[in-house]
Symmetry: C2
Amino acid sequence: LNRPTLDDIRAAAERIAPHVHRTPVVHSSALDVELGLKAHFKCENLQKVGAFKARGAVNAVLQLDAQAAGRGVITHSSGNHGAALAYAARIRDIPCTVVMPEGAPPIKIDAVRGYGAEIVFCRRAERRAVCERVQDERGATLIHPYENPDVVAGQGTAALELLEQVGELDLVVAPVGGGGLLSGTAVAVRSTAPGTGVWGAEPETVDDAYRSLRDGIRHPAVPNPASWADGLLTGLGVRAFAILRESGVEIVTVDEAEILRATWTLIRRLKLVVEPSAATVLAALRRRAKALAGKRVGAILSGGNTDFRWLTDPALEGS
Amino acid sequence: LNRPTLDDIRAAAERIAPHVHRTPVVHSSALDVELGLKAHFKCENLQKVGAFKARGAVNAVLQLDAQAAGRGVITHSSGNHGAALAYAARIRDIPCTVVMPEGAPPIKIDAVRGYGAEIVFCRRAERRAVCERVQDERGATLIHPYENPDVVAGQGTAALELLEQVGELDLVVAPVGGGGLLSGTAVAVRSTAPGTGVWGAEPETVDDAYRSLRDGIRHPAVPNPASWADGLLTGLGVRAFAILRESGVEIVTVDEAEILRATWTLIRRLKLVVEPSAATVLAALRRRAKALAGKRVGAILSGGNTDFRWLTDPALEGS
């Protein structure tokens, strides 16, 4: 398997620098007191397109040769990667097609359209087939959201920046869905700071990464996955599984109430607009706070694109 | 009337510096394109206690002599000033009483209690009387939310900082309720940058400041005021009226739908958690965008304490 190295991540950081934000890192004294540790939050919710996905998509698109670029790029995504690829394509002024499921939220459709990409709607089950047909017809290059090594290298730049910004850490935590961010983080952290641990935060209802690393075999994606962390419904990818396993990454699962309480804490206390997927990292730190007493921890807030529908969930009562 | 000068505001800035944040100023290229101007947002939503109110309360409490301080401070407030005074009192480790209306939102009660203040509940109509009784009994000093010149000087430090951070501006906009922030802003801006205009943003449903400045007489507070901008329901104060009138401040009123759309824009596009009161400044810029074409504008985002109940308002449909 072709997997990115630290050099790839460093090259990606230089390549994408003109097109993405060096996002701030914030901390909260009150939250540190509550948790009994020192937590540094890397604000990828403030990244271009509102999520770390801009890093990987821009890195992949900038590396296409002129001929391939001219034929355009394509992906299937109902979430942040679609908007990120549309943003990346606009930088090079090349065509971009995003295959989206019928009934995708208007907020996400608008984001993709806002960057000038063409949207092809289809039923969820058909999206791979539709994607392949458009690839064949137009000669467009598929930029997969997490199975593409250039994308993974791009996602790894967030953790690289975090380490530059805050210095030595005992642990870095990132959310895990397909595993692009977490595997990029694992490569960046384990090769620059071998003593620093890497954890993935995963919704309990979509715990295939947890079971895969526990059992040493990649389990299939959870069928009909349901979680407020709508960025983490995808099954763990093949490449990501291999990297996470080699890197000794540990997965911490968190339940829906924990995810929502963490989202609300980040919004109410830190005044950060985060999506529930991002807040899984705080939920994981809370669940394991005892084991982390006194540690210096980095946590990647992956994105900030939410319609706040989760605010009506009764699990938030009293929070 | 005893009103603060630029020197008072400068002294306040130095006095409160160890206890409040120098809040960041942010801008959004996309929003600038939409508005056709360059807007700098001063993030007092990221201030201690989540609102600019920390500035005024800390400035007033730090100036009490030891004897007065020992007897404690008191205020009546159902909002951010109560929490700010509690925070300020904790800095000096002195008693603080906050008189709150029965039925105040739990989120606000918790904030005041969280800083260690005592809460006395009463009916809204009785709050002045209850406040006076507690003052008499305990010898506590009343720190009024906007009729106190030390409080106004403290609030003026936000605009002073904003000008230091972004340089020359054509206009500064701040929300107006009782007028503490807006009058402090007027003194700070008009005495350091006489060519820079000052506007107040006010909900249409609570437009006493607008009518007062238009007619040259201070109109009474609107009875039973209703607006999602719950920090701006108070009538314009006596001191504030005098300062705003002298300073040539203009009031721009905005309706509830404009306030909510602006709140949503700041949350969704800029990923800033703001309360509707704060978003009135963006609503005012939108309403007057034509007149401001090409201008450099500063806008004070007054606070970020919201329970998001406004998200269910049908006025937000399609935003």
